[in-house]
């Protein structure tokens, strides 16, 4: 039997690691990897709250599934953008994509 | 209750009492017995695999008008052992440019993705690993691991051909996964559960789902062959173009794992064919005597395996674009249409008399199949008629 707080701490750790990945990695694909970690952290919370709360209320699981869908959509569009950018600028390093620099 | 009616339970009780007699705490003993069960199941699967090597070689030979292995043992039945010895004593090469860790994990993952399928196989009544309530989806998940192993092998080999082969294989697996999932949903809809035990039991109580969805079993078989990467969909190997595909750099027992995984995979899909559409272990007296059921199950799985081989050694390889077009433009829409038809007929007719329900299901499948063929015919007719006039210009 695992108390709820364990899941929450795990999710907090995962979220922070993902956040670090998003903020620190150079490669655009690696940034997306970080986003995936963050989404998973959220999902752990959702499912844990479902399990510990009212079992008949499926909101937690349904939200998790919708997060799946959103993640899939995000990855599909994100990666196609990365590939499109790569074709144009021949790089996926986020720092080098600085056309918007002053 | 004796050994013949419920062997697993008898064995389990015996082992528990044995371990208990050694003074082991019950949870520990339970864990130990479970682990033992897992090991035994995997061993059985792998021993069967050795046998499959012989069958495969024998059947190919017959299809090609040869005799096949016939020196070692009666009918060459012990031929696999020299084969294995050869594989084991071969030099185990890891290429210089390879990504070593990934390169070595890939074959294990490949074989492992097949073996974990055995966890959910209901081999006979009361003989199964676990009764997972999402087993149908679990099969797809295991397939996902297989896809992963292919791309890992292809990439880590640091070889163009390997990577090309892996890309092809992954493209095929991801595309054909869709009709396959759709067809796994057919039994799921009919039973209202994704558990393989429930699906088998429903066929024991009713009719084999082949009679409810003949078209579904056909689509499932086609997409299973594509998932397995067997001819006519063996673009991943394509000797003439990419030498040997993703496992070009593998040798010795590492290659052996891929090989064993492929054979076992084919056999396991034969088993899934049996479970989803041909009643699983269902047969005369199978319910009372599970070992008889296991025999029926293996027989049916072997039949499925034989059909896969039959197709493999009869139909030549097709082009990769044709293969993907075939899936996206034909198989996927058809499987969705079938899914809709099945669901509709099921909901409408489930309260009707049983024979009427079966007849409606069967006819609607045949009708859909006929309609598809007619539509294809009307399209190809136009194409055929268009060709001579195009030649004039």
């Amino acid at each position: 039997m695992i108390p709820l707080s364990w899941f929450l701490y795990l999710s907090a750790v995962l979220f922070s690691i993902g956040l670090y990945g998003v903020l620190a990695r150079k490669n655009a694909i690696a940034i997306l990897l970080g986003v995936e970690l963050m989404l998973n952290a959220v999902n752990i919370n959702l499912v844990a709250f479902w399990r510990m709360g009212n079992l008949a209320l499926m909101t937690g699981q349904v939200f998790a599934i919708i997060v799946f869908a959103v993640a899939a959509a995000e990855v599909a569009v994100g990666l196609s953008l990365v590939i499109s950018v790569y074709r144009r600028h021949n790089t996926v390093i986020a720092d080098e994509l600085n056309l918007m620099k002053w | 209750m004796n050994f013949w009616t419920d062997p697993i339970k008898v064995l389990y009780d015996w082992l528990m009492s044995l371990f208990g007699g050694w003074g082991m705490a019950e949870p520990l003993a339970n864990t130990l017995v479970t682990l033992l069960g897992i090991v035994v199941l995997i061993t059985i699967a792998l021993v069967l695999d050795i046998f499959l090597v012989w069958i495969e070689r024998k059947v190919v030979a017959r299809f090609q008008g040869r005799l096949g292995p016939n020196r070692v043992g009666p009918f060459g039945i012990f031929q696999p052992f020299p084969d294995i010895i050869k594989l084991v004593i071969k030099e185990d090469i890891t290429p210089d440019g390879a990504d070593k860790v990934v390169f070595n994990i890939a074959p294990v993952l490949s074989a492992g993705s097949v073996i974990i399928l055995w966890a959910v196989l209901p081999i006979a009544s009361r003989i199964y690993g676990v009764d997972l309530n999402v087993a149908a989806l679990y099969i797809i998940a295991a397939g996902a691991l297989g896809t992963l192993s292919v791309i890992m092998a292809g990439w880590s080999s640091n070889n163009k051909y390997a990577l090309l082969g892996a890309f092809r294989q992954v493209a095929a697996m991801i595309s054909f996964e869709i009709p396959m999932v759709a067809m796994l949903l057919v039994p799921t809809i009919l039973v209202g559960s994704m558990s393989l035990n429930a699906i088998t039991q429903a066929q024991v109580d009713g009719v084999w789902f082949f009679w409810l969805s003949p078209l579904g079993s056909l689509i499932f078989a086609i997409s299973a062959i594509a998932e397995l990467g067997r001819s006519p969909f063996d673009l991943n190997e394509g000797e003439s173009e990419i030498v040997s595909g993703y496992h070009i750099e593998y040798s010795g027992m590492k290659f052996g794992w891929f090989y064993a995984g492929e054979l076992l995979h084919a056999f396991t899909f034969g088993g899934f064919m049996a479970i989803f559409f041909f009643g699983g272990w269902h047969g005369p007296w199978a319910e009372e005597y599970p070992l008889l059921g296991a025999f029926y199950f293996v027989l049916k799985a072997l039949f499925g395996y034989w059909v896969i081989m039959w197709v493999k050694y009869t139909v030549p390889r097709i082009r990769i674009d044709h293969m993907l077009a075939f899936n996206w433009k034909f198989l996927t829409p058809l499987s969705f249409a079938l899914l809709i038809v099945t669901a509709t007929v099921h909901v409408l007719m489930r309260d009707a008399a049983f024979w009427l329900y079966v007849a409606a299901m069967f006819t609607s499948n045949l009708l859909l199949g006929w309609l598809t063929v007619e539509i294809l015919r009307s399209y190809t007719r136009e194409k055929r008629e268009a060709v001579p006039s195009a030649a004039h210009h």
Partner: protein, 729 residues
């Protein structure tokens, strides 16, 4: 299967057929018509099952004794918008005729579009087929009818049309009724313009679509009003709820002194005026004859125009919400006036038409006018009865006329003289010998339309309308409708005589040919109903016949209403009138036209004088609209909207704004930026040297790196979150 389930499924097969044909089978003609006819057959079987199950329910229609089922559809906040289906006696009888006629029209279309004939020599998609040359075994060349190039497309559209009509009939609320209504609007556009390469067909399609749109806008307004007044659109909750009806009847709408019920009913009725081609929005229907004939039958008999009347019958409780039995309310008077006027008005035009289909078109308008008029004076059952019988005999007549045209086209191909119009009745004559099945069925349909006594369905239903008008003392309506009925009998006999009787007036008519079984079988089936359907509604006290069959229709459909309507008392006077007008009109028609020879003008031309061109040109209504509506509209859009409003007013304002902005900008630059910032602050005071480093330093923050911005964003978020956490919670 549960009846409710079947009802839900009724519109599905044709809809699926539409998608299947459009998406997959359009390459194969045989497959497409199999799917189309098969779908129609499925829906037909389902409808019959529903209908006969409805018959076997005792007290069908009263209270809960109906087939109804509904599901929540869309969550709208706390409540759900529910959609559902229901079959009560009214929708059951409508379903009956809809299913029969649709199936017959599908079957007929196979023959009409020449399935099985060779491809045409010069046929183009978008034009009617012109015929193909074939060489027989002896090497002779023949010109035969050729198959329609867009055969599959026709069945697809017809399927969608049928799906729309089924949706409308089974609907249990005005919203899904409106959905079906609009699907049919779209399909009528697509099918009237089916031969889109013909400019006339294109124009007719646009005209039909635009004209019905006028009505639909008002109908939508009515729906919106009804929804805002009651919060629901369900029949059961509005029309079968005395409280709601009473409330609506008591509320004033502040428009022309109408009650809310009256105004809603009138707004909805305007939708019917458009859809059922009532005066003054009748103009689209005659032009709609440009479509293939099965379409004419579909639109003008089986589905679309009936839908309009059906809707008024549906909203009858609303229309009569504040009616107490005698004096008509304002809303009812409007309805009655429009119906009656349309009936006589269209009948006069039909007298002077030469095109076989145009006659039927105006007769349709006129007959719909009968029904509307009946509803306006509160004769609920009579209107429903006439709706059903009319659907049968008018479908029969349209299909029959299509058969005639088909036979004439055969003759035209035979002689090769393409200047002969195969639709002009003056080119026909004597076809009874060439096309006997068509003749006899057409005769039955024509007699039913004229109300030939006792044996035809049209007699019983029309008689009931006249009897109602008589019993309630609506003399003006009675006289007008009787005259219209006389004219109806007259022009029907004129049509039959010109087409079938006498001697052939052209070579083409001599070579006309009976049509294939796919066309004659539907005629025969419909003829059975055109004769027999009247027997279910014989008034109880009718001399001789009344006792034989109880007035089944009256009791069955009457159960739809909360208060069952009473049958009118039998009186010999309206019976005499209808006998007189029917027989008189028929005889007159025969006498006038029996000796017409080729090349001779219409015998009516002389006695009618100036009236004749007036009638032939449809009371100049098209010209009237062209002058008083279309021209002013064009002027408004061209001169007022475009040239003045758009170009001068709106563009002018925009240009002024732009000029002002330019002026402000240049003033700022010249009078503030240059002298004060640049010269005073910059040059004279030397602040230039502080601005530049500050700007430089700040610009460093603008790295263009998305992650640096993100770090900033996260930091700010954390600060804000911390502040919120610490100070608020």
């Amino acid at each position: 299967m549960a009846t409710e389930t079947i009802v839900w499924l009724l519109p599905l097969p044709p809809l699926l057929a539409f998608f299947l044909i459009v998406l997959f089978t359009n390459k194969s003609k045989a497959l497409s018509h199999s799917i189309g006819v098969g779908a129609a057959l499925l829906s037909f079987v389902g409808s019959m099952v529903v209908f006969f199950r409805a018959l076997s329910v005792e007290h069908f229609g009263e209270g809960e004794h109906i087939f109804a089922s509904s599901i929540p559809w869309l969550p709208t906040g706390d409540t759900f918008l529910r959609v559902g289906v229901q079959i009560d006696p009214l929708s059951a009888v409508v379903l009956f005729f809809v299913a029969w006629t649709i199936l017959m029209i599908f079957l007929y279309s196979v023959g009409y579009h020449n399935f099985g004939q060779p491809k045409g020599d010069h046929d183009h998609p978008g034009l009617p087929p012109h015929g193909a040359t074939v060489t027989d075994a002896h090497g002779h060349k023949h010109t035969v009818l050729s198959v329609e190039p867009m055969y599959s497309r026709f069945f697809a559209f017809l399927g969608l049309f049928a799906a729309g009509m089924y949706t409308l009939v089974i609907s249990d609320n005005l919203l899904t009724l409106f959905v079906g209504w609009e699907i049919m609007g779209l399909c009528s556009y697509l099918l009237i313009g089916f031969w889109y390469a013909k400019p006339s067909a294109r124009n007719a399609a646009i005209k039909a679509f635009m004209t019905t749109r006028v009505g639909d806008v008002f109908m939508l307004l009515g729906l919106a009003y009804l929804y805002s007044a009651t919060g629901t659109l369900s029949y059961r909750e509005i029309f079968y709820n005395q409280e709601v009806l009473h409330h609506l009847a008591e509320t004033s709408s502040h428009v022309f002194g109408l009650s809310a019920a009256g105004l809603i009913a009138l707004l909805l009725f305007i939708g019917t005026i458009g859809k059922s081609a009532q005066w003054p929005l009748h103009i689209w229907l005659p032009d709609a004859m440009e479509g293939p004939t099965p379409v004419s039958a579909m639109i003008h008999a089986a589905t679309m125009v009936s839908a309009g009347v059906y809707m008024v019958i549906r909203i009858f409780p609303l229309l009569t919400a504040d009616w107490h039995g005698h004096d008509l309310t304002t809303a009812m008077s409007v309805v009655a006036f429009i119906g009656t006027f349309t009936a006589i008005f269209a009948a006069t035009i039909a007298v002077a038409q030469n095109d076989i289909k145009k006659v039927l078109a105006y007769s349709t308008i006129s007959q719909l006018g009968f029904m509307i008029s009946a509803l306006g004076m509160g004769a609920y059952i009579a209107a429903a009865f006439h709706l059903v019988t009319h659907a049968f005999f008018k479908a029969l007549l349209f299909l029959g006329s299509g058969s005639v045209i088909h036979g004439m086209e055969h003759g035209v191909l035979h002689t090769g003289n393409h200047h002969v119009d195969p639709q002009d009745m003056w080119n026909m004559g004597g076809l009874r010998k060439k096309m006997p099945i068509t003749f006899w069925t057409f005769l039955i349909g024509g007699f039913a339309l004229s109300g030939f006594p006792l044996v035809t369905a049209g007699f019983w239903s029309k008689d009931e309308i006249l009897a109602d008008a008589f019993a309630h003392g609506h003399w003006a309506i009675l006289i007008t409708l009787s005259t219209a009925a006389l004219l109806t009998a007259f022009y029907t006999m004129r049509q039959i005589t010109l087409t079938f009787l006498g001697e052939p007036r052209t070579k083409e008519a001599e070579h006309a040919h009976e049509t294939p079984w796919t066309m004659t079988l539907p005629l025969a089936v419909l003829a059975v109903f055109a004769l027999g359907y009247g027997w279910v509604g014989i008034p109880e006290h009718f001399p001789g016949l009344g006792g034989l069959l109880p007035n089944w229709f009256h009791h069955f459909v009457g159960a739809t209403l909360l208060e069952h309507p009473e049958a009118v008392e039998f009186s010999p006077i309206p019976l005499g009138i209808s006998l007189l007008v029917a027989l008189g009109g028929l005889t007159l028609g025969w006498l006038v036209y029996k000796d017409v020879k080729a090349g001779q003008p219409d015998p009516l031309q002389k006695p009618l004088g100036v009236l004749y061109p007036f009638l032939q040109n449809k009371w100049y209504f098209d010209e009237f609209y062209a002058f008083f509506v279309i021209k002013p509209m064009t002027w408004i859009s061209e001169e007022f909207s475009y040239k003045w409003m758009d170009r001068q007013l709106i563009d002018g304002i925009l240009h002024t704004v732009a000029q002002t902005a330019l002026w402000i900008g240049s003033s700022l630059r010249n009078y503030f930026d240059k002298p004060i910032i640049n010269e005073l602050l910059g040059d004279k005071l030397g602040a230039y040297w502080t601005f530049q480093p500050a700007g430089r330093a700040l610009s460093k923050a603008q790295t263009g790196r998305v992650q640096s911005y993100l770090i900033g964003a996260v930091a700010v978020f954390l600060l804000v979150a911390a502040a919120l956490y610490l100070f608020i919670f």
